[in-house]
Structure formats: structure tokens, C-alpha cells
Amino acid sequence: MEESNRPPRPFRFLAYAFFALAVSGMVFSLRALPPQASIPLALLAIAAVLSENYALALPSYTVSLAYPLTVAAILLAGPTSAAFVAALTAISVADFRAKTSPSAMIFNLAELVLVTLAAGWSYLALGGRTLLTAGLGSGQPLSNGDFPKMLLPLVVVALVCTLGNVLILALGLTALRQQTIRSSLGQLTWAIPSQLALAFVGYLIAQGLAISLFALPLFVAPLLVARQLYQRYATLKEAYADTVGSLIGALEAKDPYTRGHSERVAGYALELGAAVGLDSRTLERLEYAALLHDLGKLAVPGKLLTKPGSLTDEEMGSVRLHASRGAEMVAKIPPLKDLSEFVGNHHEWYGGGGYPLKAKAPAIPQLALILGVADSYDAMTTTRAYRPALTHEQAIAQLIGGAGSQFDPDLVRAFIEGRVGCIEQEEGNLAKVPGSAVTAPMQGGGA
């Protein structure tokens, strides 16, 4: 967790509370089971510090190869020694360089120590044994005879480490970003399968080190390969929305009136999605859907899109086909197939009367309704061949006028609150937003 600005007070409170808990836990653990010094443990600690400093940075938190090393330390030397190894991994040069706030560093340290202590003591309590005996590194590796009775403690270590990590980080993210715990969990749960696999790798490291110190270098290649591949994946994933946005922008350039439309709609949709509390994964899907919502329009002859004045019925029919065509095209991208219903429904109206199916809420998916608001706002505030741009105030008035008929009133309210940022200014108008009354359809929205 890296935040360079001063974190909000709830987060600082949480960080110091966890730190106090971690210190108490360490004191208890030190008295119950003093740490042992051994060469394998020292090697693990060095490897853990090094790998933490080469951790893979992701927007929400970092994926570090130190994690399996900490699990290995639990098996080799028990909770107290492992907690020291875990504490060392919290020392990251990158944190100092990035001027990460002290409370964030303290939170990371406390989280690592607490999870390691909990996992280590659970392991011992369930009958697990440490693989290193006192002295200079002679080990008693796990043998065939240890199984299946060692299975339960080993599985519990993996579960406690993984779930403990996710839960504490979710609490931290909730306090730090002042978002819901559900949203925080949504940002972290994707990592559970790989964290579990990494715990098993930790067992392998422990067993290898208990047999021979020379086993340690054998872990370098597999873990580095996995990390490098994952890094490349994460980089490409981060760049996907930007790339698609640029690509769409380049193709949209044929129509000077809609240049940049999809990227702006994506921006508005994200604002609105965040305002109504969508989790990060849904926001990501919303962004992709917004970027691709007018894909079908790329196939509409340019002369229709740039025609001044009104379109004939036949021409309007051709233009309106873009919603279903766009949905068909998006369905051809397998990982984005589920977005096609949002793209296909983004011109449906909340109260019915839109196209292509004249569906009504609640049959219209929420993301499609969000796209409808964002799309209409951008269409209204940019110049089109058939009319000049409306001002922001005129566009807001149109949204309010269409609330309950064309637009979901809750979304209109949230959009105005987020967009304008001055609810008081619109208070009078907002009071007029009806719950379900059907008002006159707005003029000049998207095609």
C-alpha cells in the first residue's frame, strides 16, 4: 500500500492500532518461543528483503516474492523468527524514495507481522513442526511419515496467510480511500488463487532449504519467470483502456463532430459509476463499455453523421442500427462479450421509448443507463452538424427534464452532484427531479 500524501485520519488510526497489536503479538511470541539464528533463516531474510525491493507495483498494492519466503520461514523456524523475516520485508527502498507516509509504512509492517504470527501459531497449534533444529542449519525435512497429519496445519497456514493478508489490506484500503469494504475486497480478491499457490511454493522452499542450502538458487528462475510474465501482463492490462481509447479516437477522427467522444463518455461514466458506488472491477468494465459504446457508429457512412439538418426516417433508421451493430461487434471480443448488452442498450430509455427494443427499467442494465446519461451529456455539450453545443447549464437542465422518462432520476442526481460538485447550486432544480413521472423527451442527445 503506497500513498505519498498524508493519509486520512481513519487510516492513521487503523495503522497505529494494528502496529500496537503487532508489537503486543511480538512480545508474547518472543516470550513463548524465542527466535533462532541459523544460516538458512539468514539467507531467507536476505532473499526476502531483496525480493521486496523488486516487488511488482500495481495500482492497489504490490505483489512481492517475499510472501512465499515468509511462509517458508514459518515452517523452518516458527512464528517468532518468521515474524522477524516478515518485518524485514517491510523495509523497501522504493517506499523511502516515494516518500511513502510513515503511517502507510507502519501499516504494512504491522500487517505482515500480524498475519505471520497468526499463521505461525495456528501451524504449531494444529500439530505442525518446525523443520530447522537449533544450531547451524541442520534440518529435519518433512518426510513421507509426516503425512497426512501435516496436511491440516499446512493448509491452515496457506489460508491464514492469504485471507489475513486480503482482509487487513481491504480494511486499510477502505480507510485510506474512504470506499466501501466491498469495493476494497473487489480490488484484492483476484489475487487469492495466486497467493495460495505462492504459499505452496513457500513449503517447497522450506523443504528444499531443510535438505540443502543449495536448493535456494533453484527457486530464483521459476519465481522470477512468474514475476516477469505477470509484470508484462499487468503493464498491458493497465494500458488497454488507453490504447483502445486512442485507437477509437483515431478512427473517430473521420467525423470532426464526434472526435474524442468515446474517451469523454468514458470519463463521465467513470465519474458517475464511482458516485453510485460501483466496485473497481465493475468500473473497469464500465470504462471498456463506454470506450466501445459507439463502435457501431464507425460503420455508419460519414455523410450521415456529418449531415447538417435533420435526417430522413430511412437515414435515422441506419444511424440507429449502430447500437445493435456495436453490440454484435463487442460480442466478437470474447473477454468483453458481457459488455455487449450495455453497448446494445445504451440508447434505451429509463421509462421506455428508446431504441432498439423500447425496453424499460429495470429490464435495462444499470451500466447501460449510466452510459445513456454520460453519452447524452457529452452529445449535448459538443457541437454537432445539426446544432451548436449546449452550455453545461442547458445540458443539465435537459438531463433534469428527461429524468424519469429518458434517464434514471437517481443517476441524474448523482451525475449532477459529481459533475457540478455544487449540489446547493442545483438544489432548486434537483427538487424538480421526479421519481417516475414521464416528462417530455429531451432534444439533441446522442443519435
Binding site: 495466486s194 517447497l204 523443504q207 528462475a221 521459476p222 514475476r227 501482463y233 460519414g302 451493430r325 468483453l336
Partner: protein
């Protein structure tokens, strides 16, 4: 702590190991084989080689053969059925060769008891298995497709070297940990291999997402002009086939695929100020503008030099790289092949870029590309 602490069973072609251990090995190899990653060029990458190599030492070559060949047969037949016989035969032959090479290595080392049972032996047997499987698979691919074996092997070695090294490490780790834990050691080793497989699969998935998205966007834009529909996709397929026949690396094939999809985007994009004349290009030298459309889209940074060459510009580098010129010629030729086969495309596709690109490449490059296209059966327009 001794480095030579391993105690492998004495070398036997068919060891008297327990059937339970064999069963666990079979299930572990089957699990990893069934999660092979299919690659766009038709073959696949797996991580089960690490377990197969270890099985040769721990269970003896005969059990190893039963496990590894059984698994590859089950997974390939379940996935492709009997129709894709060439693919199944290729996988079985590659694995037989790998088993043979590693068995002979183990047997040879067992003749020298001083050396046998060392970490070095484990490493040599694992390396023999993994390298032979890669070489045999590429040989089968070269025989089946007519692509040059040397280029195929070089390209695959470059791409797969880190994965091979990681599998080699996992294989040796299994040999080390098997001594105490027995078949239980398969669980963490399979987890490690799965982690690598998962990371590779995620990377492949996101690459596929990019490929499909670009294809769909171009297809959408082509909808503007009924005559052009499908041209970019067909050009990309032809260009990929020629590039693979020439023996280019997976990365180069990928670049060529994107360049082919986007090579005519100036015409379909019809961007303001750089529009294509409504009556088409004249017969004089034409400079395209597709590369300008995507200038600034960083994902295409390494594709733009090829599109620039197709446009009739320099690649943008001080000296055009021969690789970029080769790629440009492949794309231009593939585009003309499609125009020659589809009258509608030819009508909308005035002005060929093949001649101007061909004029800039060396005769050997030209003959390489033209030879590959002819071998694939494409009726190609005359090349200077």
C-alpha cells in the same frame, strides 16, 4: 550441508516403484498437460516437462513413458479429437524423443557410479528431456509446415528460454524434495509450475484481447465501404502465413499481424486533411497516411515502422532495418494478393505499395518473401 545428498533409486528401465506413486505422477502430469496454453500460431506451451524429466530418474524410463505418453494422448485426443492427427502425432513424437534422450542420459550416467546420484545428474537428465522435446517439436512443425527449422528453433529458444530454465529448476527441486516427502512433494512442485503457467496464460490472454479488439475495430471501420469489408482481416491472415513460412519469430509475426490489420486505415479512417481522393489514387507514386492515424498510440510504437514503409515513407529510423523492410514487403504483398482475389477490394484499393517497397529491399529478401508466398499457393502480382 552436502551438495551430493541425493539418493536416487538405482537406474532401472522399469523400476519396482509403487503403483500409487505412478498414479500420482500420472495425475499431476495429466493436470498440467490439460492446462497447456494454445498459441495463436497453432502449437502450445506446457510446463509438464519438468515432471516428466523427474519421472525418468525417479520411476525409470518405462514408467515415465507410460505416464507422459498416456497423458499427452489423453489430453490431445480429448481436446482435438482424431481430426487433428498431425498435432497429436507431433506431440507424441516430440515426447518420445525427449523420453529417449533423457533415458539414455540417465543410463549413460549410471554406468559411472562415482558421478551418478548427484545434483549434476539430475540437471543433465532434466536438460536432456526439455531441450529434446523443444527441438523435436520444432522439427515436427518444420516438417509439417515447410517452415525453416533453424529459424523456428532460434525463435522458440529465445521466447521459451526463461520458461525452460524455470522448468529445469522445478524438475531438480522435485528430485530433491521427493527423497523425503515422496509423492507428496508433487503438490508444491505442481503449484510452482501452475504459477508459471498461469502467469504465461494471463499474458497470452491479454495479448489476444488486444489482437481481437484491433481486429474488431478495423472491421467496424471497414463497414463504411462494403467493398472493403474483410480486407484487413484477410490481409492479416495471409501476411501471418507468409511470415511464419519465412520463419519469423512470434514477435515479428505479431507486429506483421497488426501492421496488416492497420495498413489501409487511412482509407477507411478518411481523416480530415489526409483523406483519400474520392476517385482513388492516381497512377503516380502515392504516399499513404495510415501511420499518421496511429501516431501517438504507444501500443503500436513498434508496428508503425512497418506501416510507414507500406505508406511509402522511411520507417522513421536513421536506416531502415532489413527486418522492417521484410515485414513491410510481406504486408504489402499480402494486401495485393487479397486485392487480386477480390474484385471489390481491387476497385477500392487503387495504388499498390508492393512495387515501392520491393524496390527498397534486397534481392535475397524479395526472393525469400516471394518464394514463401508461392510455396503457400498464393497467386501473387508481379514484383519488380
Amino acid at each position: 550441508m552436502p551438495i551430493l545428498a541425493l539418493e536416487f533409486p538405482p537406474f532401472e528401465w522399469l523400476s519396482t516403484t509403487t503403483s500409487v506413486t505412478v498414479l500420482w505422477f500420472f495425475l499431476a502430469v495429466l493436470l498440467l498437460d490439460s492446462f497447456d496454453i494454445s498459441l495463436p500460431r497453432g502449437d502450445s506451451i506446457g510446463v509438464s516437462g519438468a515432471l516428466c524429466a523427474a519421472a525418468v530418474i525417479l520411476l525409470g524410463p518405462m514408467w515415465a513413458a507410460l505416464i507422459c505418453l498416456g497423458s499427452v494422448l489423453v489430453t490431445h485426443l480429448a481436446r482435438h479429437g482424431a481430426e487433428e492427427r498431425r498435432r497429436v502425432v507431433g506431440a507424441v513424437v516430440a515426447r518420445c524423443a525427449a523420453l529417449g534422450a533423457s533415458a539414455l542420459t540417465a543410463y549413460g550416467l549410471s554406468l559411472y557410479p562415482v558421478l551418478y546420484r548427484s545434483l549434476l545428474d539430475a540437471g543433465l537428465v532434466a536438460a536432456a528431456f526439455l531441450m529434446t522435446e523443444l527441438i523435436a517439436a520444432q522439427l515436427m512443425a518444420a516438417v509439417g509446415t515447410g517452415r525453416p527449422f533453424g529459424r523456428l528453433l532460434r525463435g522458440n529458444l529465445r521466447v521459451q528460454a526463461p520458461l525452460l530454465l524455470a522448468q529445469w529448476s522445478a524438475s531438480v527441486l522435485l528430485l530433491i524434495t521427493f527423497q523425503g516427502m515422496g509423492a507428496w512433494s508433487l503438490i508444491p512442485v505442481v503449484a510452482l509450475l501452475f504459477l508459471m503457467r498461469q502467469s504465461y496464460a494471463m499474458l497470452q490472454d491479454i495479448r489476444e484481447l488486444y489482437r481481437t479488439t484491433v481486429g474488431v475495430l478495423v472491421e467496424a471501420a471497414e463497414g463504411q465501404d462494403a467493398r472493403r469489408v474483410g480486407h484487413a482481416e484477410r490481409t492479416a491472415a495471409t501476411a501471418r502465413a507468409i511470415a511464419m513460412r519465412v520463419g519469423l519469430s512470434a514477435h515479428q509475426v505479431d507486429r506483421i499481424n497488426y501492421a496488416a490489420l492497420l495498413h489501409d486505415v487511412d482509407a477507411i479512417g478518411d481523416t480530415s486533411g489526409i483523406a483519400v481522393p474520392s476517385d482513388g489514387y492516381g497512377t503516380e507514386a502515392v504516399v499513404g497516411t495510415s501511420s499518421e492515424v496511429f501516431d501517438g498510440v504507444h501500443f503500436f510504437d513498434d508496428v508503425l515502422p512497418i506501416i510507414r514503409i507500406c505508406d511509402g515513407h522511411s520507417s522513421g529510423e536513421m536506416v531502415d532495418a532489413e527486418g522492417d523492410l521484410l515485414a513491410g514487403l510481406i504486408v504489402a504483398l499480402a494486401s495485393d494478393v487479397d486485392a487480386a482475389e477480390h474484385a471489390d477490394v481491387a476497385a477500392a484499393h487503387v495504388g499498390s505499395s508492393v512495387d515501392r517497397v520491393a524496390a527498397r529491399v534486397s534481392p535475397s529478401t524479395k526472393s525469400l518473401v516471394v518464394g514463401a508466398a508461392l510455396a503457400l499457393g498464393y497467386g501473387i502480382p508481379a514484383v519488380n
